[in-house]
Amino acid sequence: MRGPYTLVHAEDNWQTDMGAWFSGERVVFRGKDLFTELNDFSWFKLLMFGITGKEFDDNQIKLFEAIWVLSTSYPEPRIWNNRVASLTGTARSTCVLATSAATAISEANIYGSQAELDAMYFLIQAKQAIDEGIELKSFVINHLKTFRRIGGFGRPIINHDERIAPLLNKAEELGLANGQYLKLALDVEKILLKERFRQILNVAGLAAALMADQKITLNEYHHYSVLAFSIGNISCYIDSSAQKEGRFFPLGCERLDYIGQEKRDW
């Protein structure tokens, strides 16, 4: 429906089944009373309930948390999003501004949200291809030739991912490492390495596979990932704000490598 009448109908009329606050009385969240039906939920279980409307069991929640703990919670101030938090701290700005800005830039291509979506989308496409009778090896090689990269495989800076083993161990410990998407991701890595493409499975690929095996959709995965870096962001802010102001990797004038126009008059 288009045109202004659609807006007239929507004016002061927000229909929702997500939830509402009844002032001084109660809160409803996806049809459940927060104080009497959801009061024993952990924060993460409530987060996943909000995102999906589903109630996951304890091991699933432990897996979802473990993906954050092991893959994105680095207090490493040189990583780009964390560096935003560190710069904010050294500039003596606030922690919420640091974390909001660092979260915002985490919706990035070479890491973060777009990379995570690409990883899951590739696995979904690969699974569809197999279901249609296409050989996995030819699908993988065609994909790589067409797009020059495969989401969830390869890594900037280094060609090794230290997060794979601990996360895989955790998934196995929880009994959640038997799914078809995980097997598929490992098969794709074998093909890439055998064909000498030097593209290892990275943690975004592993996480996407583990989440897809828990029937998390692409959209749900995107929403789940929003705060994934927040622990590293906050920690980096705390670190730089606890040290002397302006001391976080200061740059002198000579650190600008100017390659532009010569001096000229307006």
Binding site: R2, G3, P4, T6, L7, D12, N13, W14, Q15, T16, D17, G19, A20, E25, R26, V28, R30, G31, K32, D33, F35, T36, S93, T94, V96, L97, S100, A101, A104, E107, S113, Q114, L117, D118, Y121, L218, H222, P250, L251, G252, C253, E254, R255, L256, D257, Y258, I259, G260, Q261, E262, K263, R264, D265, W266
Partner: protein, 278 residues
């Protein structure tokens, strides 16, 4: 041997350090021009913004066009989604930065925001001055990427899905900006073919469509147009946020009766008073 220090590579900015402080600039040059020694007091804000993005001095018509774009979109008004977001920061007593950050979030979107301008820039690159191409793309607009962080488009970019006819300010802006530009440009084309394009899109031209044509005439890239649209719309958000901060939340809509919960389970059953006492 000492390791070479990592540097920021830039075409835009060169600095010379003060003799007594390597961390303070004695002079700063923007694309070769001495910013504090010459440009300050000599160039307009629009000329300087153009220089920062294009690295060249603008022609008079280019700086006039950019300045008029800046005026046209500086304040979309307090009903606009981005300004409303900023005012929510103001009424709650939030930090100044958070008000602007709040404005940027909805102001970035595909519904009247900067991503819509980006999409129209891409259409100009794909369709050029071919009416049939425009008609085809607008009648059946498809996002370029199947999976992206942005939600899927719900209307042809550059046009207002809730419009009845092209609004007076959009037409006034289109007319004025077109008068500043070369006759063979995107704005001139849009002015000439507006009604045919609106028919293809099945909705009237929006401000995003006009501004994208202006940025196309300024030979901005889609990334430059997107980020400039975000930047140039902030003044209104800032002013309205501060105004609502002063007026306070009691004078600001809460939509108290506007929400209907469609799956309300109702109040939880109260414990029997006697049982509770026992």
């Amino acid at each position: 041997m000492t390791k070479e220090k990592e540097c920021i590579t830039t075409n835009i900015w060169h600095e010379e350090a003060e003799a007594d402080n390597p961390f303070a600039a004695k002079a700063a040059y923007c694309s070769g021009y001495d910013v504090y020694g010459e440009l300050l007091g000599k160039v307009s804000w629009a000329e300087y913004i153009y220089l920062l993005f294009k690295l060249e001095k603008p022609q008079p018509w280019q700086s006039s066009l950019l300045e008029s774009v800046a005026v046209a979109i500086a304040n979309p008004g307090p009903r606009d989604l981005s300004v409303r977001a900023a005012m929510n920061g103001g009424v709650g007593g939030s930090t100044a930065a958070s008000c602007l950050m709040a404005a940027l979030a909805p102001g970035a979107g595909k519904n009247g925001g900067a991503r819509e301008v980006y999409q129209v820039m891409r259409l100009w690159q794909q369709c050029g001055f071919e009416l049939s191409q425009w008609q085809q793309h607008l009648a059946n607009y498809q996002d370029e990427q199947a999976v992206e962080v942005w939600p899927a488009s719900e209307h042809p970019p550059g046009f207002d899905p809730y419009g009845a006819s092209c609004t007076t300010p959009v037409l006034q802006t289109l007319d004025h900006l077109t008068s500043l530009c070369p006759e063979e440009g995107a704005l001139a084309y849009l002015s000439e073919h507006r009604q045919q394009l609106e028919k293809a899109a099945d909705c009237p031209l929006a401000m995003t469509g006009v501004i994208a044509a202006a940025f196309t005439d300024l030979q901005m890239t889609e990334d430059q147009a997107e980020i400039l649209f975000l930047l140039l719309r902030l003044p209104g958000a800032a002013a309205h946020a501060l105004e609502q901060k002063k007026l306070g939340w009691r004078n600001y809509p809460f939509f108290g009766d506007g929400l209907t919960l469609t799956n309300d389970p109702g109040p939880a059953p109260k414990e029997d008073n006697l049982q509770g006492a026992l």
